[in-house]
C-alpha cells in the first residue's frame, strides 16, 4: 500500500464509523503501517541508558547433578560486569506458573538440556555471549528418561520434584471424564473402530524471539519491558524472584512479533532472569534469545500418543467413545495441567455422544518443558477424533460430511461433559456451508475421475470439524476476568487501557472498534495505550481466544459508565443526544472546567462455569466456537510430496468484529496448520533436540499456501459476548491441520497415523498400499 492508498482506506473507516456499524467493518489495523515500515519498536529495538546485556549458561545434560560451577574465567574480560547463580536469588528461586516446581536458575540439579544454570551481564551482547562459553560446569550425569510412555513405567528414573507430581512417579497429572455407561455404549454399537495416533513437537516459530529488558526504578521498584502475552504472569514471577511486593513491579508489553501461546509462560522466566541481573547491578539489563536458544530451550506443542475407540450405530450415530492419551510435559509442570484439561475437553470433538470415557495423563520427562500453543492440547485430539469419524464413515459406507452432520452438536444437545448447549451453536451451518462451497459430492466425483486417470499423482479431499470452548473454562475460573480503564481527555479524545495484549492478532483494532461502537464515536478519536500492568487490574492472560471477548466486555462496561456522565453533562448543556459524538470536545471541556471525574473503569468477570474432577463433568465453558475446514490436496505418489491445492474454511465465532482481521486469523491458521500436518518436525536424540534453527525446522512459506482459499463466517450470536462475539484465534489451526492430513489419507486410501505427514511417511504408506494390493 502506498501512502495515498493508506489515507484512502483511513477515510473509508471514518465514513463507516459515522453511521456506526463499526462491528463487522474491515477497519485497517493501526499498527500495520509501522510494522511494514520497520518502525514498530520491538524489545530488541529499545535501549536504556547504561543498559547491560545478558547471556545465559544453559545445561548441556538432560539430567545431572551440578557438582561445581566455576565462573572465574568469565570475568577475564573487562567488559563483563557480573555473573549470577541460584545462590544469589534474593526472593524465591521459583518461576511460578501453576506449580512451584521450576527454578529460575538450576540449583544443584538440571532436568533438561537448555535449563538455565547461571547468568552473565556485560557491556555488550557479544562479550556476554562469549563469556558464557567460558563457564566450567562440573556435572554428574544421572539416569534420564525422554519418552512419556517409558517415563510412566515403574522402573523409570524420577524426573520431577515430588511437589509437582500429583498422581505418581513422573505422572504430573491425570484427569478423566466418565459420562453414561461405557460398556452399555459399546454394546449398543453396530461397529467399533480403533486408532492410535502419534504426534511430535510443533515449534511456535514466531518471528520475534523471546526477550525482555529489566529496568530498576526508584524506591526499589523494577520495570520490565518485553515481548509477551501475559503481563500479569510476568509481574508475579518477577516479584516472587526478587522478593518484591506486586506493587513494586511494573510490566510493559512491547510490540510483540507473534506469540501463538509461546509467550504465555516463557516470558516469566526470561523476565525473571533479566530482572535478577538488573537487581544485582542496579542497571537496565537486556536479555534476548537467539533463534537457536529459542528453539532449544523454550516450550513447544506437546508430543502425544492417543488411543481412541469409537462405537456407532449402523446409521452412523455415535454411541460411545473411549479415549486414553499421554502427553509429554517435559521436565517441569509449567502449563501442562491446563493443557491436559483442555485436551480432555476436546477429546469427544463437536459430537453428540451418550457414553464417554476419557483418561488423560501428563508425563514428566527430561526434555524441554512444553506449554501453550494455539489450540492448547486440542489439535492432537482434533486429528484423533476426525480420523475416527473417517474410519466410521468408511466402515459404514456413509459419506464423511453426512456422518458428521448426523452427529453434530445442536442447541439443546448435551456435550461430553453433560453440558446442555443453550445458544449460539453454528456447527451444522459451518458443515453445510463448507460442503456447498466446495460442491462436496461433485467434487468427490471429479477427484475420483482424476485419480482413475492418473498414474502417479492422486488427489484427496479432507474434511474436519471442531469445537473450542472459549475462555479459560471450569478448571481455573478465577483467571477469567479483565479490566478496562477509560478516560475522556479535555479535547474530547478517549484514552483506553486494557490488560490483554496485541501480539499480531489484531486485538487493538478489534477493541478500538468495540469502544467506537459502544461510545458511538469514530475510531480515530480513540487511542489504546500500550499495555502496562500499572494501568489496569490483573486482567488474566491473553490466551484461550479470550482477548476480544473479555477486554471487549470490560470496555463496554466502562463505556456505559462514561456515557452516563457524558449524557448528564450534555443535558446540562442542552446538547441533543444525536449531537453528542460530534460535540464531544465541547462536553469534554465542561468536564475539565467543572472538575467532573473523566475517568471510569470497566470490569468483566467470566460467566459461571464449573467442573467436577471426579466425574469430569460440568458446564465447563460458557460458550463454544465451531469450524469446518475442507482441503484438497494432490499427492505425488513417487516422492510422497503433498501439494495443498484448495482450502475452504467456515467459522462460527459469533459476531465477527472485524472481517478482514478475522479472515487473516483464519488464513494464518491454515498456514500454521499446514506446517503442523506436513512439514514441522523436531527429531530428538535422547534429551537433545536436533533442529536448532529455521534451516532444518521447516515452516511453510508463501509458496506452500493454497492458491485458492475461501474463508467465510456463519455468525451464531452469543448473548454473553461483546456485540455477540465469541473467540476465534485458536480454532483455525485446529481445523486446518486436520483437513490437510485427512485429505492425504483420502488421496492414498490408506491411513497414516503419525505426524507430520512428511514425504517419507507418505511414500511409505504408498508402498504399503501397493504391496497390499
Amino acid at each position: 500500500m502506498n501512502e495515498a492508498e493508506t489515507k484512502h482506506s483511513n477515510t473509508k473507516s471514518q465514513d463507516l464509523s459515522l453511521n456506526s456499524g463499526m462491528i463487522g467493518a474491515a477497519v485497517p489495523r493501526p499498527d500495520a503501517i509501522d510494522k511494514v515500515r520497520g518502525e514498530a519498536r520491538f524489545v530488541d529495538d529499545l535501549v536504556f541508558s547504561g543498559m547491560l546485556h545478558a547471556a545465559v549458561i544453559w545445561s548441556e545434560f538432560p539430567h545431572a547433578k551440578i557438582r561445581n560451577i566455576d565462573l572465574t574465567a568469565i570475568m577475564d574480560d573487562p567488559r563483563v560486569v557480573c555473573t549470577l547463580t541460584s545462590e544469589e536469588v534474593p526472593g524465591d528461586n521459583i518461576v511460578h506458573v501453576i506449580y512451584d516446581d521450576q527454578p529460575a536458575l538450576a540449583a544443584g540439579i538440571v532436568r533438561y538440556i537448555g535449563e538455565p544454570i547461571a547468568l552473565v551481564a556485560a557491556e555488550d551482547r557479544a562479550s556476554a555471549r562469549a563469556a558464557a562459553t567460558r563457564a566450567l560446569i562440573d556435572y554428574e550425569e544421572i539416569p534420564a528418561v525422554f519418552d512419556p510412555e517409558e517415563a510412566l513405567r515403574p522402573d523409570a528414573p524420577l524426573v520431577a520434584v515430588p511437589a509437582a507430581v500429583e498422581k505418581g512417579p513422573n505422572l504430573f497429572n491425570s484427569m478423566r471424564i466418565r459420562k453414561g455407561d461405557i460398556e452399555q455404549g459399546f454394546a449398543a454399537a453396530d461397529v467399533v473402530v480403533e486408532g492410535e495416533y502419534r504426534f511430535g513437537y510443533q515449534e511456535h516459530a514466531y518471528l520475534e524471539t523471546q526477550g525482555a529488558i529489566a529496568v530498576p526504578e526508584e524506591h526499589g521498584a523494577m520495570a520490565i519491558y518485553g515481548t509477551m502475552q501475559c503481563p500479569f504472569y510476568v509481574r508475579s514471577a518477577v516479584a516472587q524472584v526478587l522478593g518484591l511486593p506486586l506493587s513494586k513491579v511494573r510490566v510493559v508489553q512491547t510490540a510483540t512479533g507473534g506469540a501463538f501461546g509461546g509467550k504465555e509462560d516463557v516470558p516469566s522466566l526470561v523476565s525473571a532472569l533479566a530482572a535478577l541481573l538488573a537487581w544485582k547491578t542496579r542497571r537496565p539489563v537486556k536479555l534476548v534469545y537467539d533463534r537457536e536458544e529459542d528453539i532449544l530451550t523454550t516450550s513447544k506443542r506437546h508430543p502425544a500418543v492417543i488411543r481412541y475407540r469409537s462405537g456407532a450405530k449402523r446409521d452412523g450415530r455415535l454411541t460411545a467413545i473411549e479415549v486414553d492419551f499421554i502427553y509429554n510435559a517435559g521436565a517441569y509442570q509449567t502449563l501442562s495441567s491446563a493443557v491436559l484439561w483442555r485436551a480432555l475437553m476436546s477429546a469427544a470433538g463437536p459430537y453428540r455422544i451418550p457414553h464417554v470415557k476419557v483418561d488423560g495423563r501428563m508425563a514428566a520427562t527430561n526434555t524441554v518443558p512444553n506449554g501453550a500453543f494455539r489450540g492448547f492440547g486440542s489439535p492432537q485430539m482434533n486429528f484423533a477424533h476426525e480420523s475416527q469419524m473417517d474410519l466410521l464413515s468408511d466402515r459404514l459406507q456413509i459419506d464423511r460430511l453426512e456422518i458428521r452432520l448426523r452427529n453434530a452438536l445442536q442447541i439443546g444437545d448435551e456435550t461430553a461433559t453433560c453440558q446442555r448447549l443453550e445458544e449460539s451453536v453454528g456447527l451444522t451451518e459451518t458443515l453445510e456451508q463448507a460442503g456447498q462451497t466446495v460442491d462436496w459430492e461433485n467434487r468427490l466425483r471429479k477427484i475420483e475421475a482424476f485419480n482413475a486417470d492418473s498414474h502417479s499423482r492422486r488427489r484427496g479431499l479432507g474434511i474436519s470439524t471442531v469445537t473450542y470452548g472459549v475462555g479459560l473454562g471450569g478448571k481455573a475460573p478465577f483467571l477469567d476476568k479483565a479490566g478496562a480503564y477509560m478516560k475522556l481527555e479535555a479535547d474530547g479524545s478517549i484514552t483506553i487501557a486494557v490488560g490483554t495484549v496485541e501480539m499480531g492478532q489484531g486485538l487493538t483494532t478489534a477493541l478500538t472498534q468495540i469502544a467506537a461502537e459502544a461510545l458511538s464515536l469514530s475510531p480515530e478519536r480513540i487511542h489504546l495505550a500500550p499495555v502496562d500492568s500499572s494501568r489496569v487490574p490483573d486482567s488474566g492472560p491473553t490466551v484461550a481466544s479470550r482477548g476480544t471477548l473479555m477486554s471487549g466486555l470490560a470496555i463496554i462496561a466502562a463505556a456505559e459508565k462514561l456515557q452516563e456522565r457524558v449524557s448528564s453533562a450534555a443535558r446540562d448543556l442542552d446538547i441533543p443526544k444525536e449531537e453528542i459524538p460530534s460535540r464531544l470536545p465541547e462536553i469534554a471541556r465542561v468536564f475539565f472546567m467543572r472538575n467532573i471525574d473523566p475517568a471510569v473503569e470497566g470490569w468483566a468477570s467470566g460467566e459461571p462455569v464449573d467442573w467436577d474432577p471426579e466425574s469430569g463433568l460440568g458446564n465447563v465453558y460458557f460458550v463454544y466456537s465451531y469450524a469446518t475446514h475442507i482441503a484438497q490436496v494432490e499427492v505425488d505418489l513417487v516422492t510422497g510430496e503433498v501439494n495443498v491445492e484448495e482450502f475452504v474454511a467456515v467459522h462460527d465465532s459469533g459476531k465477527i468484529v472485524n472481517r478482514r482481521l478475522a479472515a487473516g486469523q483464519v488464513e494464518g491458521g491454515i498456514a500454521q496448520g499446514l506446517g503442523y500436518a506436513l512439514m514441522e518436525e523436531i527429531p530428538r536424540q535422547g534429551g537433545r533436540l536436533l533442529t536448532t534453527g529455521l534451516t532444518t525446522y521447516r515452516i511453510p512459506t508463501i509458496c506452500d499456501i493454497p492458491l485458492r482459499s475461501e474463508v467465510s463466517f456463519v455468525e451464531a450470536i452469543c448473548s454473553k459476548g461483546p456485540f455477540g462475539a465469541k473467540g476465534l484465534g485458536e480454532v483455525p489451526l485446529m481445523a486446518a491441520h486436520v483437513a490437510v492430513s485427512r485429505a492425504v489419507v483420502h488421496a492414498l486410501g490408506r491411513p497414516i497415523t503419525t505426524y507430520p505427514f512428511s514425504p517419507e511417511r507418505v511414500k511409505k504408506a504408498v508402498t504399503m498400499q501397493k504391496n497390499s494390493e
Binding site: V638, E641, T695
Partner: protein
C-alpha cells in the same frame, strides 16, 4: 546456543576489482573468497570457519558475464542465480539449468547467491550440480601463472571438498550447448516449495535414434557424498529400446547405484527408493 561468536570483530572485507588483484591476494594466510556470502556467512556465524580477510569477488567484471562462444555457454563464477534465470541464452540453450535454479532457496537468496559459490561450496544438495553434470560442464580454474579446465564430475571430491588447489579459484563454467533431445527432466524433493534443501533430486537428458536410446544422462543430488552421474543406469539404457522390463531394471539399478545417508531430512532407504522411482517416472514420460 554455543554462544554467538563476534565473527566480524577483526575481519577485513576487501572489494576486489580485477582478476589480477585477486591472484595477488588469494594465497595470503587467513584470506577467503566471498561472493554472495549465502553459504560463507552461515558457516562463519556458526563458528565452523573464521577467516580473517574476505576477498569479495562479486564485482569483478570478468567473472560476471554470460556469453556464447563456439557452441558453448560460458558463465562467470560471480553471476548470480537470478541473473542466470533472467538470461535468454540459458532459457533457450540450457533449460535444465533454469529449471533447477528456479527452486534454489528463495528470491532473496538467488539475488545474492552465485553459480561459483554454489559449486565451490560443494554441498551434495547443490542445485546447480545436477544440471551441470548432465550438460558435461567444464570448470575453468585459475591460479597465478596457470589455468586448467576440468569436468564438473571431477571437481566434486566429497561434501565440501573440491579439486581446487590452494591459491586457485573458479573463474568460469563452460557448458557445451546440447543437441535437441527429449524434454529434460528434473525433480527436487523437498518438504516445502521454497527455501528447501533437496532431500533428493534427479535430472535426466535422453536422446533416441531409430527407436533405441542413443544416449542417456542421469544425475542425482543429495544421495551420495557429492552430486553424481548414474553411469551404470545410463549404460543399461544406451542402445536399448525402452520397454516396461527395461524401466523396471533401470529403476532397480539406479536405486542401487546411489549411496545415500540417513540424516535429519530423510532416511537413506527413502532416498534410494525415490531415486529409483523418479527414474521410472522419467522413462515412463519418455515412452509417453
Amino acid at each position: 546456543m554455543s554462544g554467538e561468536k563476534e565473527f566480524v570483530q577483526h575481519l577485513q572485507h576487501l572489494k576486489i576489482g580485477s582478476i589480477e588483484d585477486l591472484l595477488q591476494q588469494i594465497g595470503e594466510p587467513g584470506a577467503r573468497i566471498i561472493c554472495g556470502g549465502t553459504d560463507l556467512l552461515v558457516k562463519m556465524r556458526s563458528g565452523a570457519i573464521s577467516p580473517e580477510r574476505l576477498l569479495d569477488i562479486s564485482e569483478i567484471d570478468a567473472l560476471r558475464a554470460i556469453e556464447e562462444k563456439d557452441g558453448r555457454i560460458e558463465i562467470g563464477a560471480a553471476v548470480t542465480e537470478s541473473e542466470i534465470l533472467a538470461s535468454e541464452l540459458v532459457t533457450v540453450c540450457l533449460p535444465l539449468l533454469r529449471t533447477a535454479l528456479v527452486h534454489l532457496g528463495s528470491l532473496q537468496i538467488r539475488n545474492r547467491g552465485t553459480l561459483g559459490g554454489n559449486l565451490v561450496n560443494a554441498s551434495p544438495a547443490a542445485d546447480s550440480a545436477v544440471p551441470l553434470l548432465l550438460y558435461n560442464a567444464e570448470l575453468i580454474l585459475q591460479r597465478a601463472g596457470s589455468e586448467r579446465s576440468i569436468p564438473v564430475e571431477e571437481f566434486f571430491r566429497g561434501p565440501g571438498q573440491t579439486a581446487l588447489a590452494s591459491g586457485e579459484f573458479l573463474r568460469t563454467v563452460s557448458i557445451p550447448i546440447p543437441r535437441e533431445g527429449f524434454d529434460p527432466f528434473f525433480h527436487k524433493v523437498g518438504r516445502r516449495r521454497a527455501l528447501a534443501i533437496a532431500i533428493a533430486s534427479l535430472g535426466a537428458l535422453l536422446w533416441v535414434e531409430g527407436g533405441v536410446v542413443a544416449e542417456a544422462r542421469l544425475a542425482a543430488g543429495s544421495v551420495a557424498p557429492t552430486a553424481i552421474r548414474l553411469s551404470r543406469t545410463e549404460n543399461l539404457l544406451t542402445g536399448e529400446k525402452i520397454t516396461p522390463e527395461l524401466i523396471a531394471q533401470a529403476r532397480e539399478l539406479a536405486a542401487q547405484e546411489v549411496s545415500p545417508i540417513t540424516d535429519i531430512r530423510a532416511s537413506a532407504g527413502y532416498r534410494r527408493e525415490v531415486i529409483g522411482d523418479l527414474v521410472e517416472r522419467f522413462l515412463n514420460e519418455v515412452v509417453g
